[in-house]
């Protein structure tokens, strides 16, 4: 386990092929690894390094820059309570206290049963809906402490299973570029001239001049 599964490896190759340079697929592949195991394992990073042709240190260097990647196991549900300005003005602290009390862990902690990890998060681009939070990156808007308690109950009871997948899963609809429709990515070093459609009317249509 922990390297990408054969299915995910196939998907990884598909993703890599979309970019002019393989390294561009690094972050998408880290997401794939996190979706597979709930967090990014060392073996997965080695595998990704092989797939995109960099050192494992580079994969880790890139991965650790980004907030969303977890390198240790986290709960099935990662609860991110926003604490930036608008949410803070509208009572984010109360949400955090309610969550800490209900879960019995402090921000940054994971419950003993491995169900929940609680994080204080920065601005989630929902400021007009403050205070807000995310569970596995699914929003809850204008939340009250009571809402937080109900939410945790519902999650624990599995009542939200359909709506909120386990940690690591982002969009459940992925982009697929059909082979007969895609233009395909080309290494910039191998591109000599303007795109084919620009040459249709070469003298006038090079818009950017």
């Amino acid at each position: 386990m922990a390297r990408l599964t054969p299915d995910n490896t196939t998907l990884a190759h598909e993703i890599i092929a979309r970019y002019p340079k393989p390294k561009s697929a690094l972050i998408p592949l880290l997401h794939l690894a996190q979706e597979q195991d709930g967090y990014v394992t060392d073996e997965a990073m080695r595998h990704i390094a092989e797939l995109v042709g960099v050192t494992p240190a580079e994969v880790r260097g890139t991965g650790t820059f980004y907030e969303m990647f977890q390198f240790e196991p986290v709960g099935r549900y990662l609860i991110n309570i926003c604490g930036t300005m608008s949410c803070a003005l509208m009572g984010a602290d109360d949400l955090m206290h309610a969550a800490e009390e209900t879960l019995g862990v402090h921000a940054g902690g994971t419950t003993d049963d491995g169900m929940f990890t609680l994080h204080r998060a920065e601005c989630q681009a929902a400021c007009t809906e403050a205070p807000c939070l995310q569970v596995n990156y699914r929003y809850r808007f204008r939340a009250t402490p009571d809402d937080v308690r109900t939410l945790i109950d519902d999650l624990r009871a599995g009542r939200l299973d359909g709506e909120i997948p386990p940690h690591g899963t982002l969009a459940r609809t992925r982009q697929h570029i059909p082979a007969d429709r895609g233009v395909g990515a080309v290494d910039p070093d191998d591109v000599a001239g303007p795109p084919a459609w620009v040459t249709v009317d070469a003298d006038t249509s090079q818009g950017a001049s």
């Binding site: 601005c123 809906e129 950017a208």
Partner: protein, 470 residues
């Protein structure tokens, strides 16, 4: 609390204002291709493809469409900055929306993804760009899903990919997810991130994306909202666009108003004329301060903007005037603080944000941002000293040496110092950690003074232990 996308966020459909980018928000299925086509979708693209690319570019140039990512640079001019004859060139869509207070791009992606896709296509066609990368902030699962699904529909229907609408025009749009880093919204960091690297900004020059961008090639970076305007312009012409708003700020603009107002929300307003008073107090917008409290201060343009007082309420939402008054419009985000607000604590939330989001590249931001945060923390906790107030300004001065912009205040007898400031960092993250500190301390110094105790003797630590060196 609500998870339902439709039951919340009043505002955008209230009132009788022209709607360019939010016109489909009233439909529940606004994100589907079916609805899109039924409401004039892809008409702009068809119109553009019927003309040659230079004309389309010219149309965008004459519409004076200003970038909505924060800098407000005209899109048509930006496209023209690419060096001639260098290919390939790319479009990178900045959907990393993370500036505190900002909330518009996510709505545009969730609610009308095809409008964005159409905008990307028009830009690629007009500027001769051969591949488009649509970079969506990692934490926006729904936006990723909606844009992904819309792209799949659009590919299947022949709107994206090879030979679009039966023409020679062919371009791929690749959906790319970020992974949580505010600084990646900065365009050169965005490019680094898209190359699979740590999202650390590059220095401009030499890395002006239009000349040296993704993979070292000419690259146009545009904000989601900027691109979402293009279908309207292509379909209706530049005059229809400039007929709205003012000469320097044509069209409409999405503004999020959050904090202590009665009806926080995202509003599509007429650019350049709508005043802050309209927005905060107008019935078709926020309808006043919550509980009819006094307004204490507001941030006019996202967390990086210097703060305004009620003195500035009658300024219109227009870049130059706001700049002269000591702040900036940024990404169209107003955060409102009423009289109950604890100013040092509010400033701390913003400084903490920027300190946390520092990429770590520039020393002043990496060390100074965190230091400012630590000092503020102890002031808010009641452990600060009067010395700390000067120290805040000193440390801030190492990030922004020179005069800091701030608002005028009749009560304090302050004249405005106009935007911008000098900075020792590459990008604005570092200065942004200082901006709220400076604004709060300049406009509300008494609130800090009442929080701190007189100087206690401080532990003095020698800077470098003698080691026989120089």
């Amino acid at each position: 609390m609500s998870a339902d996308t439709y039951a919340w966020a009043p505002g955008f459909v209230a009132g009788d204002r022209p709607r360019i980018v939010t016109s489909r928000f009233e439909y529940e299925d606004s994100y589907t291709l079916e609805r899109y086509l039924a409401t004039g979708g892809y008409e702009g693209l068809r119109a553009a493809l019927g003309r040659n690319a230079a004309d389309v570019h010219e149309q965008v140039r004459s519409s004076t469409l200003l970038g909505r990512g924060g800098a407000g640079f005209p899109a048509g001019i930006k496209w023209g900055l690419t060096p001639e004859g260098v290919f390939p060139r790319y479009l990178v869509v900045n959907g990393d929306e993370s500036e505190p207070g900002t909330y518009k791009d996510r709505l545009l992606m969730e609610r009308d993804p095809h409008q964005l896709i159409e905008g990307c296509l028009i830009a690629c066609y007009a500027a001769g760009l051969s591949q488009c990368f649509l970079y969506i902030r990692g934490e926006m699962a729904l936006a990723q899903e909606r844009v992904g699904a819309a792209l799949n529909e659009a590919y299947a229907a022949g709107y994206v990919g090879r030979n679009i609408c039966g023409t020679e025009f062919s371009v791929d749009i690749v959906l790319h997810w970020g992974a949580g880093a505010y600084v990646v919204g900065e365009e050169t960091a965005l490019i680094e991130s898209l190359e699979g690297n740590r999202g650390m900004p590059r220095l401009k020059p030499p890395f002006f994306p239009a000349a040296i961008g993704l993979y070292g090639q000419p690259t146009i970076v545009n904000n989601v909202e900027t691109l979402a305007n293009l279908p309207f312009i292509a379909a209706n012409g530049a005059e229809a666009y400039t007929a709205i708003g003012t000469e320097t700020s044509p069209g409409t603009r999405m503004v999020a108003v959050s904090g202590h107002v009665k009806r926080p929300g995202v509003y599509e307003i007429i650019n350049g004329t709508t005043t802050f008073r309209d927005l905060l107090y107008g019935e078709e917008f926020c309808g006043g301060i919550r509980d009819d409290n006094e307004l204490k201060a507001f941030v006019p343009g996202g967390g990086s903007a210097p703060w305004f007082l009620p003195d500035q309420l009658d300024l219109p939402f227009e870049g130059r005037q706001v700049g002269a008054a000591g702040s900036m419009l940024g990404s169209g985000a107003i955060m409102v603080m009423d009289s109950t607000t604890d100013i040092p604590a509010a400033a701390l939330t913003l400084t903490r944000f920027y300190a946390h989001e520092s990429c770590g590249k520039c020393v002043p931001c990496r060390e100074g941002g965190t230091w400012l945060m630590r000092i503020l923390e102890r002031i808010v906790a009641g452990d600060g000293t009067t010395d700390d107030l000067d120290l805040l300004l000193e440390v801030g001065g190492s990030i922004c040496p020179g005069d800091m912009p701030h608002a005028a205040s009749a009560e304090l007898g302050l004249e405005a110092t106009p935007f911008p400031y000098k900075m020792t960092t590459i990008c604005f993250v570092g200065p942004s950690a200082y901006v709220p500190v400076h604004s709060a301390l300049t406009l509300f110094r008494s609130e800090f003074e009442s929080r701190v105790t007189p100087v206690r003797p401080r532990v003095r630590i020698p800077v470098a232990a003698a080691g026989g060196g120089a």
